[in-house]
């Protein structure tokens, strides 16, 4: 499988709102911690090293 870089979430606005809600009330350090955990959880869920590498490359792209 290759990295999905086209829309894949039914209601992206809802998810963004939930993501920001999860950060509400956190200090900057707590927010960084939450993001790190979230990334690790999702990376494990994806599993496929080719997809993960493609995601890293996309994120690094300027």
């Amino acid at each position: 499988m290759s990295l999905i870089d086209t829309p894949n979430i039914d209601d992206p606005d809802d998810f963004l709102a939930e993501l920001l809600a999860a950060h509400r009330g956190l200090t900057e350090a707590q927010s960084h911690a939450l993001n790190a955990q979230l990334l690790l959880i999702l990376a494990n869920h994806v599993g496929d090293p080719a997809v993960l590498r493609a995601a890293l490359a996309l994120a690094r792209q300027r």
Partner: protein, 516 residues
């Protein structure tokens, strides 16, 4: 009780009075690696002179975690029974964060293996067992208080200058093997330098004696309350002696930290006040190796060739695997059975192994002492996640324990056979009648015939293998039959479901030529 260090006797070497006949092999350094190499050469009929600057076994427990592969090597050299009787086998490791256990792992004994996955035993005990064997072996000329002060290699051999209490003398040999440890004088005399990384982390290691009865488990703490947010490791050893490793951080002063008045209060916080301090040392983490392990007729093995941080027990276990890889090759070249190119395969394979050990150990070191910023962020969040989600435990790195390197090879393979026994891997053990498969392998290259007759190949003994569940799981997989070509160091060179004599002879020739 604390170890009594009785000196081994010094005997004036013959070379002090008259030139000695040229030797085949001179091994420099009678630590575990040099001793194992000398014993392995001896069982292949190759004599050696083993030079040791000191006259006693190592001080302190030092390398104390022996892997299954090392135990299998000890078995071939005749000391496994003593090591198993004296040592503390373990399979359970517990990983703590702060003062809580976040998870445990079990390396689990497998009925297919004779040896436990790991066993703790102080290096001085192992050296004693090996030294006793070496002293009793007529093919090993073990010389204490013989310090190498000069080495002069040429195209066909090496001249070694040696200082003894009675003066200096010289030896000539076809090969010199430097097993003289992290501060190798041979390496310094040849002006060879290490490549790699020197970490700033410092660790304090201590042997303490106490009457308690802590379980035979590996305990590792990240940021324990008792030690200022640094890492700590506790192992049980023989004789009621426990080994404690404490991370000190980059700015610790080794001399100051080794003082008992500094050490004792730290250890009290781990195990309470009732103990005797037996030995203490401070070291810094290093991940470095020589660019090449073979320099003409001078060959490096063990710590003289590579330095590896201790978590994962990859230093001495890796060193024993160096000796295991080198012994049969050196013996075969000296006997004229194999071309000198076989020695090059030692360099290729053990450099690959050292790189793997260095890669694994650097990652563990980074995890224990993360750089501030994103490295620490991810380390801390992995530890936090490991408490609540099993998947994150695989990321928690308190040292990846030593397993034999699987050498890169293009030896014939068949995908129907199990991955565990693929070419380049050490042959896995399995019960055979009342004994064990590895013990039945002998000292030569061998062809294992499983559920089939082996074609006759010159100079290749055949071992018919009894089929049982371990053999099916480890050697047959989905295939109904198989042939395995095994090297003299028990590494699998090639395997087939079906093969004719010509194919097997071709793989056997590649084995003796050291082709990948």
């Amino acid at each position: 009780m604390a170890h009594a260090y009785a000196p081994f006797p010094y005997v004036a070497p013959p070379g002090l009075n008259a030139p000695e006949p040229r030797h085949k092999v001179v091994i420099i350094g009678a630590g575990p690696v040099g001793l194992v190499l000398a014993l392995d050469l001896a069982r292949r009929g190759t004599p050696s002179v083993l030079l040791e600057a000191g006259d006693a076994v190592a001080t302190g427990s030092r390398a104390m975690g022996w892997s299954r592969r090392s135990l299998e090597i000890f078995d071939r050299l005749g000391i496994a029974d003593k090591v198993l009787e004296k040592g503390v086998p373990w399979s359970v490791g517990r990983v703590c964060h702060g003062d809580d256990e976040i998870f445990s792992f079990d390396l689990a004994e497998d009925p297919g293996d004779r040896m436990p996955p790991f066993l703790n035993l102080q290096q001085y005990h192992v050296e004693h067992f090996l030294t006793d064997r070496a002293l009793a072996d007529p093919l090993i000329d073990l010389r204490f208080r013989n310090r190498v002060t000069g080495i002069d290699p040429d195209a066909d051999g090496v001249q070694v200058t040696i200082r003894t209490p009675d003066g200096s003398y010289m030896l000539a040999a076809d090969y010199a093997i430097a097993c003289d440890g992290a501060r190798s004088t041979v390496r310094a005399m040849l002006d060879l330098d290490f490549e790699g990384e020197l970490f700033e982390e410092r660790f304090l290691i201590a042997d303490v004696e106490m009457e308690g009865d802590l379980p035979s488990e590996r305990w590792f703490w990240f940021e324990p309350g008792f030690h200022d947010g640094q890492s700590a490791l506790l192992h049980r050893q023989a004789d009621n002696i426990y080994r404690i490793d404490l991370q000190l951080g980059p700015h610790a002063d080794p001399k100051d930290e080794s003082r008992p008045e500094r050490v004792i209060p730290r250890i009290e916080q781990v195990i309470g006040p009732d103990f005797d301090l037996d030995w203490v040392s401070v070291y810094s983490f290093q991940c470095r190796r020589l660019g090449e392990f073979v320099h003409g007729r001078v060959i490096f093995a063990g710590d003289s060739a590579h330095l590896i941080p201790p978590f994962g027990a990859r230093g001495a276990n890796g060193g024993l695997q160096d000796a295991d890889n080198l012994g049969w090759k050196l013996a075969a070249v000296l006997d004229g059975r194999a071309p000198p190119s076989l020695i090059d395969s030692y360099n290729r394979e053990r450099v690959q192994a050292a790189d793997e050990n260095i890669r694994q150990s650097s990652r563990a070191t980074r995890f224990m002492g993360p750089a501030n910023g994103v490295e620490r962020l991810f380390r801390d969040q992995i530890l936090a996640l490991a408490r609540k989600a099993p998947f994150a435990r695989d990321w928690v790195n308190s040292g990846r324990l030593s397993t034999p390197c699987i050498y890169a090879t293009t030896g014939p393979d068949d995908p129907r056979l199990p991955a565990i026994s693929r070419p380049g891997a050490v042959a896995p053990d399995a019960p055979q009648g009342a004994g064990w498969l590895l013990a039945a392998l002998g000292r030569d290259a061998m062809l294992l015939a499983i559920n089939c007759d082996a074609p006759a190949v010159a100079d290749l003994p055949v071992l018919p293998v009894e089929v049982n569940p371990a053999v099916v799981a480890r050697y047959l997989g989905r295939a109904g039959r198989a042939l395995y070509l095994v090297r003299p160091d028990q590494v699998i060179a090639a395997r087939w479901v079906e093969a004719d004599a010509r194919q097997i002879a071709k793989a056997l020739a590649a084995l003796w030529e050291g082709r990948a």
